[in-house]
């Protein structure tokens, strides 16, 4: 198992005619957590997608070592299927999620419920179950606290803490405050061009 690393050099992102940020560099190793802050539209989600290799940066380059997992606003779960079956699909690809993890996420009683009947918070927790099952070393979390109640926020913070303690690496983009030990903060506003148009 290689040591996880996530590095970016001189990244710039352009969406349509707008330059969202430029000159962004970062370097994270296992055991580190970075919180990318900024208001809506500043480019947090685009940064996550660039780091995940799903979007080409306008300039700069990304180095990613180790398996990578992404949690964003899409669930990647089949809406019409019971939660247990659609998680089972990812279980076949990633390996089955242990019972205690499902219990920890509060999903143990919801496995027979079709995904479309789940509430906002339950959907987010279902996506977290998919993330945990992947056992990836690099976690890219885009607004992981959206729609969660206070207990669930504490639970997510504990999950990330555990992940980082086991040598993982986490990058969290969120406009909400998050409490984690040794949390580094990257305000994305600092990298926005002075004039917001090209």
């Amino acid at each position: 198992m290689i040591a996880p690393r996530l590095a970016a050099r001189d990244l710039a992102c352009r969406r349509g005619e707008r330059l969202l940020f430029r000159g962004l560099s970062l370097d994270l190793a296992g055991g580190q957590t970075l919180h990318v802050t900024g208001s809506n539209g500043v480019g947090k989600s685009s940064l996550i997608r660039i780091l995940a290799g799903l979007l080409r940066p306008y300039a700069g380059e990304v180095t990613r070592e180790g398996s990578t997992a992404l949690l964003d606003q899409t669930l990647a779960l089949d809406e019409h299927l019971p939660l247990g079956r659609t998680l089972g699909f990812w279980g076949h690809l990633d390996g089955v999620l242990p019972e205690q993890d499902l219990a920890r996420l509060g999903l143990a009683n919801l496995l027979d419920v079709p995904v479309r009947y789940l509430s906002t918070g339950q959907r987010k927790r279902a996506a977290l179950a998919r993330l945990l099952g992947q056992r990836a070393q690099v976690w890219l979390l885009d607004e992981p606290l959206n729609g969660l109640d206070r207990d669930a926020v504490t639970m997510v913070e504990a999950l990330v803490t555990d992940h980082v303690e086991q040598g993982g690496l986490a990058l969290i983009a969120s406009h909400q405050p998050i409490t984690l030990p040794d949390l580094q903060v990257l305000p994305l506003h600092d990298f926005a061009p002075p004039e917001h148009t090209l």
Binding site: L70, A76, L93
Partner: protein, 220 residues
């Protein structure tokens, strides 16, 4: 279970007739409805029906293959499935190839079955029916391949994508129709062989064209 089998099982559960509360049955019913309406429209002259019936089956098959296109790839892109597969190192080409198999299985064999009652409705004789069935066997994989390429190219379009993909499929399907339906007039198997050749080329291209289109759509 291998990645390929896992993906194929999920796709079959989604696309085989009867899945998604029966929505997937609609193309087959549509196919039979066309075969049923045609005698009403042109009149009950048996000679005319027998002479044109094989061609009607082909046109109905083409239209039935267009119906599921808007559900073929777009939901998986919107729900983030393609992102998650990419992060796991599963190539878009593999996903599209699996989807192509599932799409063909969901309408090809069933259209060939439905062609039996359709041929009775149209008064087609046994020899012609045999040519139609052989032609469908050779041609429907090509129709599925065209469908999946078009579905991938139009995947990012919001609204109106279904009608547009239908319009885009029709010109690409002309060679298949010419040789597939044309083999009926000649009564030979040369047309069927050419249909099969076109199908094979399309099936070979589809995963790569579709994969590139999905990656382009993700950038958008």
């Amino acid at each position: 279970m291998s990645t390929f089998a896992t993906l194929l099982l999920r796709d079959l559960a989604q696309f085989l007739p009867g899945a998604r509360r029966g929505n997937t049955l609609l193309p087959l019913l549509f196919f039979l409805a066309v075969a049923m309406l045609y005698p009403f429209a042109v009149g009950p002259n048996p000679n005319l029906l027998a002479a044109t019936g094989g061609g009607v089956i082909w046109v109905a098959a083409l239209l039935a293959a267009i119906l599921p296109l808007d559900r073929l790839l777009a939901p998986d892109l919107e729900n983030g499935f393609f992102d998650q597969w990419a992060l796991r190192g599963i190539a878009e080409e593999v996903v599209i190839a699996v989807r192509l198999i599932a799409h063909w299985l969901s309408f090809g064999p069933f259209l060939m079955l439905a062609a039996l009652p359709a041929s009775a409705l149209l008064g087609i004789d046994g020899d012609t029916l045999r040519t139609v069935e052989l032609g469908l066997l050779a041609g429907t994989p090509g129709l599925a391949a065209i469908g999946i390429i078009i579905a991938a190219v139009t995947v990012g379009l919001k609204g109106g994508g279904a009608a547009l993909s239908g319009l885009l499929v029709i010109p690409l399907a002309v060679p298949l129709l010419i040789f597939g339906a044309g083999s009926l007039a000649l009564g030979g198997e040369g047309g069927v062989a050419l249909t099969g050749a076109i199908s094979l080329v399309l099936v070979a291209i589809a995963p790569f064209a579709g994969g590139a289109a999905i990656r382009a759509a993700r950038e958008g």
